[in-house]
């Protein structure tokens, strides 16, 4: 039985873990002090590269490699920008870091700035996360008062400053170039790449944009050494431990830390206590946020060729494949943010797709026609299927629209809409065809609605 790890999350359970006094007592800033006073930036970068840390924001890009894209010996100022615009439906892991251990992120920022030659970090937090913003800002004030931020942190001649920048409620600002536009005070519309942020990012200067969890892992990486940290993982080229999140129809939803490479089944049963109601089997699992195509427990890996990268799991259920950036890609989905959502047999998948398509339609920035129009049409066609006004041809229309969105836009929002839509139709086609004939009756919350009236409620943990 899989057990959660308590390394990255070792301070989560402490009373007042968000305060500098408690965090420092429990080890915070020991690594920043050691690293900045005894190591060179290149040595730090080498450790992060050896750690094989894949970006925790969803794309899974190797963070060490990203840092290497900065132009060497830049005359221009370099910025570090933290993407804390956590808004991918199903994802709620970065909020735990910012609320329960903001100093892990702030320490990571200091070390990363020192390594990449930056002096200023902007932490872009979505403004809805009021507690996160408050605790980060308090943490920054305390660090300034202590001299850890400012002109000479730990006596080292490398001035450091961190600012919190609030968003204003736009999912698209989680896309790194939209985030940069938003940081610069503009509408959050993604930029055409290249140039990539490492060359021309915030304010036109070389910029590294990293996820909260990625940067908050830096202190642990330097504490253990990159190679040792990488070996905590069960998978190659995808190192360390990371946060796992679970929501939907399970007994105990929540956030846990574990080595990279747990299976969905381990997370759902060992951590989450299994399906909410044993009588309603799991129908689908969205592995890492709503943009990642849904998986069916009944599907098995089909890779009989022993040279196939997925051969090791040939014949196994999709729920029994380790969760890694590359393995999830091998299943035709994505690891995304590593926060899974379980949908049980009470859920009508046409209705579920409609809910998500409405979300994407609401959040499309409107810049590119295939996305602006496509998300709207997907939502509308799902609407009419659910309302019993659809036709069988509408099911193929969903596929057609999706195919015309993918690869035709500036950013990945269109792909992140079309891919899950295609998976819904392909894997639950019978249900879509049924909706075309009969519409959809019942509600998405059919399984739980009765238990919410009154005081009893569902089980769930608070942060």
């Amino acid at each position: 039985m899989a057990e959660p790890t308590r390394m990255f999350t070792d301070r989560y359970g402490l009373k007042d873990s968000h305060t500098l006094a408690v965090a420092e007592q429990a080890g915070a800033y020991a690594q920043a002090r050691r690293v900045m006073t005894t190591m060179t930036p290149d040595a730090i970068k080498a450790e992060v590269k050896a750690a094989n840390i894949r970006g925790r924001g969803g794309a899974g890009f190797p963070a060490g490699m990203k840092w290497g894209f900065l132009p060497p010996k830049s005359e221009k100022p370099v910025y570090l920008v933290i993407n804390a615009d956590e808004g991918e439906p199903g994802t709620f892991k970065d909020r735990t870091i910012m609320e329960l251990d903001p100093h892990r992120l702030l320490e990571g920022c200091m070390m990363a700035m020192f390594a990449i030659g930056a002096h200023v970090t902007y932490i872009y937090v979505r403004c809805e996360l009021v507690t996160s913003i408050k605790r980060l800002e308090q943490g920054i004030r305390d660090l300034r008062a202590k001299g850890y931020l400012g002109a000479r942190p730990f006596g080292v001649n490398h001035p450091l400053e961190i600012h919190v920048h609030p968003g204003a409620g736009a999912y698209i600002c989680g896309e790194e170039t939209a985030l940069l536009n938003s940081l610069e005070g503009m509408r959050g519309e993604p930029r055409l790449k290249p140039p990539f942020p490492a060359v021309a990012g915030a304010f036109g200067m070389p910029t590294i944009v990293n996820n909260v969890e990625t940067i908050a892992s830096v202190p642990d990486i330097l504490k253990m050494g990159g190679a040792a940290w990488s070996n905590l993982s069960r998978l190659p080229n995808d190192g360390g431990t990371r946060l796992y999140g679970l929501s939907g129809h399970v007994k105990k939803p929540g956030i846990w830390e574990a080595p990279v490479g747990l299976t969905l089944r381990e997370m759902i049963y060992d951590f989450g206590g299994g399906p909410l109601d044993e009588k309603r089997p799991i129908k689908g699992v969205i592995p890492g946020g709503s943009s990642t195509p849904i998986l069916r427990p009944s599907d098995v890996v089909n890779a009989p060729d022993d040279k196939h990268p997925m051969f090791k799991w040939h014949g196994k259920s999709h729920l029994d494949v380790p969760m890694g950036v590359d393995t999830m890609r091998g299943l035709g989905t994505m690891l995304g943010t590593n926060c899974a959502t379980v949908l049980d047999s009470s859920v009508n998948m046409v209705e579920a797709a409609r809910n998500l398509m409405r979300f994407y339609h609401h959040e499309s920035c409107g810049q590119c026609t295939p996305c602006r129009e496509g998300t709207g049409w997907l939502a509308e066609v799902c609407d009419r299927l659910c309302e019993g006004k659809g036709t069988v041809a509408d099911v193929d229309l969903l596929v057609d629209i999706s195919n015309n969105m993918m690869g035709n836009t500036i950013c990945a929002l269109a792909d992140g809409t079309a891919m899950p839509m295609l998976a819904f139709v392909r894997k639950y086609r019978e249900e879509f065809l049924d909706a075309a004939k009969n519409g959809v009756r019942g509600r998405l919350d059919a399984a739980v609605a009765a238990s919410l009236t009154g005081a009893s409620g569902l089980s769930g943990r608070t942060l």
């Binding site: 968003g167 204003a168 929501s247 939907g248 129809h249 959502t341 949908l343």
Partner: protein
Amino acid sequence: MTFTLTPEREKQADDLLGRYPTKRAACIPLLHLCQEQNGWVSDEVIEYVANRLSLPTSQVKGVVTFYTMFHQKPVAPNVVWVCRTLMCEVRGAKVIQEHLEKKFGCHVGETSQDGKFTLLKAECLAACGQAPMLQLNGEFHENLTTDAVDKVIDAAAAETPAQAVTKAVSGHG
């Protein structure tokens, strides 16, 4: 009527402007600061921000209309957001919304009969493991039941002075 910040907030605005290499970058934080004082972003607020940052008002307006967290119409003293995205939805978010609609005597996007609450529908608020949830004046309330909703809302209502009832607000999420 022109809009001005209180002297204390004016100091905060100076601090905000000092954080960035360009004035324009302070646009979103400054709009938040103004909304905190004014309750919503009026044309006067837009004009103030544009002047303060040396931007055309059209560009500030463009920013305001892009982001859902800027209220473009007046809202009640208490703002309730209910998350209705899939992860909350399968754990009963609709029950919570319907309960609130009944309690307030208004639909989503409108203000309650007593003028104390504006009820809005939110997209994912990053509390999927604690669904269903609502956000009241910035604070998260999680693992809700109808009883828990009553407790939270009644407490806020008791602390809010009676409101002159205005017309229902529309044009929100």
